[in-house]
Amino acid sequence: MSFILKRQIRTYVLSLLLCLYFQTVAHACLSCGCGNSGSAADLGSMGSGSSLFSGGRQWLIQIGGSFRQITGSFNENGQWNPTPSQSALQTAAASLGVTYFPTSSLSLGLSLPVQFNRLDQASWGSFGSIAPTDTSASGGGLGDLQLQGSYTFWEANQIGLAAWTSLSLPTGRVDTDKPANLTGSGVANLSAGVMGVYRSPAHFRQAELSWQDWLTSRDWEILLNLGYSQALANPPVQASPFFMGQSLLYQVQGNLVLAPQWVLGLGLNGQLGRWTAGPDRWQAASRIKLVPSLQYEIDMNQGIRLSLGADLPVVGANQLTDLAGSLVYYQFFD
C-alpha cells in the first residue's frame, strides 16, 4: 500500500512540476499538455497524472500537442471583456518532456516546447491585455526550457505529502517588435510548493481494474496543492501572455475511475498574484480555471490523455483568458 501511494504521490508531484508552474512557457510539459504558457490546458491533467506511475519505471517520455484560443481578458478592475469581434489570438504547441526517477521518492525532469502563434486583427498587450489591430501576423519558435524536481517526504495510509520545485530558463523568444513571435517570458522563474494527496481505500490501479471491481470500488482520489512562483528579474511587459507575475498558485483536483483503464478528472486551478507594474508599483494578477480531463491507459506503461481547460470569466484581474485543449501520449521505461 505504501509503495503504491508513494508512486501516486510521485506522479502527482511530477504533474505539478510540469504543470502547476503554468505562468511561463517553461511550464510546458506533456504530462499536462501545457505546451502553451498560461494556457488553461497547462493544468489540464495534473490530477490524472496520478495514474501514470503504475509501472515503477525509471524514465518517462511524453510527447504531445496543444491548442490555445484566447477568449478575452480581465482588466485591472476585474471586468472581463471578450476579444474584439472578428479577431483571433491562437497558439499551437508541441512539446517533448523527459523525466528521470533515481529513487521512488525523487524525480528530475525537463521539458521544452516549440510554439506557433497566430494573431489576427488583435494582439496581446501588457498586463494580460488585448489590443485590436488591423493586421494579421504569425510567428513562433522555441519556448522556455523548464527543469524540475520533487521529493516525497511523508506518507501514511491513503495520504501523502511532497515538495516540488521548478526552474524555467528564458530560452523562448521575446520580440517586442513582433508580438506574434513571442514564445517566452524573458526571465528566469523559480517556483516551489507542497502538495497533498488522498485517495480512496480501494486500489487505484486502473489498468488492472475489472468492471466488477469498478462497480464495487469506485476508486477516487483528491489532490490539494499550494505553490508560489517568483520571477528572478523583471520581465518585459510585452511578455505578459507568457508570464503571469509573482503568484500564489492553488489547485483542487479530483479523479474518478470512470471505467477500466479510463480516468475522469476535474480540477479547479487558480492564481493569485501581482505584476510588477513599474517602479515601486504593483497590480493584481489573478484568474481561475476549470479543467476537465480524460485519460486512457493503454497498458501499465503507456497511455493517452486529453485535457480541456477554460478560464472562468468570472473572477480575475490583468489576465488573458483562454479555451485550450491538449493531447498527450506518455510512456514509461527502464
Binding site: Q69, P84, G125, F127, S129, P132, D134, N318, G325
Partner: protein, 385 residues
C-alpha cells in the same frame, strides 16, 4: 476535429454567458444609418502614407514606405511635389501657427521645418535625439516640444530663434525597444508624456521646468489636458491595458478613475466649450464621451470598426450650413472599417459615415475638405465637408 468542436461549443457557451455583462454598458448611443458620402476623391501618393498635416493651402503627407513627403495642393486635389531627405524619412507632421510644417524624422533623430511659402523648401533642421515621435507647440507659438521614443527625454525647440540650442528635459523611460509611439500633450502650464518603460507618466511644469512622476493605470497611452480660463485643470489619461480613464486634478493632485468606458482607449480630443473629452475605444468600436467637470461618463457613441484617431474639425474653416455648423464636428477614423465617422460633439449624433481607403488613417483639414491617409492603399481619400 472533436477537440476543436468541443472548444467551439465551450467558447459559444462562454460567449453567451458573458454577453449580458457586455451589454450592460451605460448610455450607448445608437449610430445613425450610414449616409452617402459627400464628394470624395482618391489621390495616389507614396508607399505607406502615415503622417499628415495641412498648412497654407497645402497638405503634406509622409510616405513612410519610400521615405518621401507628398505635397498636395488642397484646392486642386493634386500632388504637386514629392520631397525626400538626406537621412531617414518623414513620420509625424505638425503645422505651426505661422503656417509652416514641422516634419519629424524618427530614423535620423531630426526635426525639419518646411515653408510652403518658399516652394516647400527645407529651411531648418534640428537634431533632437533618438526617435522623435510626436510634437506639440506651445500656446504662445514660441516653443515646440518633441517626444522621444528612444531616450528618456523631451526635446524643446525654440521656433523663434532657430539657432538656439535644443533643450532636453528628462522624463521616464520609453518603450523597451525604443521604437514605440509616445504621446505628448501640452497645456497652458503643464506638459505630460507617458513613460512606457516605467508604466507611468512624467509631468513637466512649463514655467519652472520641474518634472514629476504620476502613476495612473496600466499602459497610459493617450492624453489630453482640460484647461479652463487659461488654467490647466485636469489631465485626462487613457490607460490602454487597464481599459480605464484617469482624471488627474492638477490643483488637488488627486486622481479619479473611470471604468466601464469601453476597450482600449486609443486617442482623444478635448472640446473646451462643452468640457467634454471624446475618446476612441479601438477594442469596442465606440467613442466614449466624458464630462471632465463632473468627472463622469456621459455616453458611448458606436462608430466603425477599430476607431483609432480622432480630430476636431477646425472651426475657422467651417462653412455655415442651414441647421448645422461644422464647429462641433468630431472626425473619427475607423481603421478596420475603411471609413470615417463624423460625430456632433454636442448632440453625440453620428452625422455621417464616409467610406475611405483601407488601413490605418490619419487626417488633415484644408480648403473645407478632409484629407484621409490610407496606409494600406497608398492613397489619400478627400472628403468634401
Amino acid at each position: 476535429m472533436k477537440l476543436l468542436h468541443s472548444l467551439s461549443l465551450l467558447g459559444l457557451t462562454l460567449s453567451l454567458s458573458l454577453s449580458a455583462c457586455q451589454s450592460a454598458s451605460l448610455n450607448t448611443l445608437t449610430p445613425q444609418p450610414i449616409q452617402a458620402s459627400q464628394t470624395v476623391t482618391t489621390l495616389s501618393v507614396g508607399k505607406v502614407p502615415h503622417g499628415i498635416a495641412a498648412a497654407a493651402g497645402f497638405v503634406y503627407n509622409s510616405n513612410t514606405g519610400d521615405k518621401t513627403l507628398s505635397v498636395i495642393d488642397a484646392k486642386q486635389n493634386t500632388v504637386i511635389k514629392t520631397l525626400s531627405f538626406d537621412k531617414g524619412g518623414p513620420s509625424y507632421l505638425k503645422a505651426t501657427s505661422d503656417q509652416q510644417i514641422l516634419v519629424l524624422n524618427a530614423e535620423s533623430g531630426q526635426v525639419h521645418l518646411l515653408d510652403p511659402q518658399q516652394d516647400h523648401q527645407l529651411i531648418h533642421t534640428w537634431e533632437v535625439g533618438m526617435g522623435p515621435d510626436k510634437v506639440q507647440i506651445s500656446a504662445d507659438a514660441q516653443r515646440a516640444f518633441v517626444s522621444l521614443s528612444g531616450e528618456p527625454a523631451i526635446a524643446e525647440i525654440n521656433l523663434l530663434d532657430r539657432q538656439a540650442a535644443v533643450i532636453k528635459h528628462s522624463v521616464g523611460a520609453g518603450s523597451a525597444d525604443g521604437k514605440g509611439h509616445r504621446a505628448l500633450v501640452l497645456g497652458q502650464q503643464w506638459l505630460a508624456i507617458p513613460n512606457p518603460g516605467d508604466n507611468n507618466l512624467s509631468l513637466l511644469n512649463l514655467a519652472s521646468g520641474q518634472s514629476q512622476i504620476l502613476n495612473a493605470g496600466n499602459e497610459p497611452a493617450t492624453l489630453a489636458i482640460a484647461s479652463v480660463d487659461g488654467q490647466d485643470q485636469t489631465l485626462i489619461i487613457g490607460n490602454r491595458a487597464s481599459n480605464t480613464v484617469t482624471l488627474y486634478d492638477f490643483s488637488s493632485q488627486q486622481s479619479t478613475v473611470l471604468s466601464e468606458i469601453g476597450l482600449s482607449p486609443t486617442d482623444m480630443v478635448w472640446v473646451p466649450e462643452l468640457q467634454r473629452v471624446l475618446i476612441t475605444m479601438a477594442g469596442s468600436n465606440e467613442v466614449a464621451v466624458i464630462d471632465t467637470a463632473k468627472q463622469r461618463l456621459i455616453g458611448k457613441v458606436a462608430v466603425g470598426e477599430r476607431p483609432v484617431h480622432i480630430y476636431r474639425a477646425p472651426s475657422e474653416l467651417s462653412v455655415k450650413h442651414e441647421g448645422h455648423d461644422h464647429a462641433m464636428d468630431i472626425w473619427v477614423s475607423n481603421d478596420a472599417g475603411a471609413s470615417v465617422s463624423v460625430i456632433d460633439a454636442q448632440t453625440l449624433a453620428v452625422l455621417a459615415t464616409h467610406t475611405v481607403g483601407k488601413g490605418h488613417h490619419k487626417m488633415a483639414f484644408a480648403q473645407n475638405k478632409v484629407f484621409v491617409s490610407n496606409i494600406t492603399d497608398n492613397t489619400l481619400t478627400v472628403v468634401q465637408r
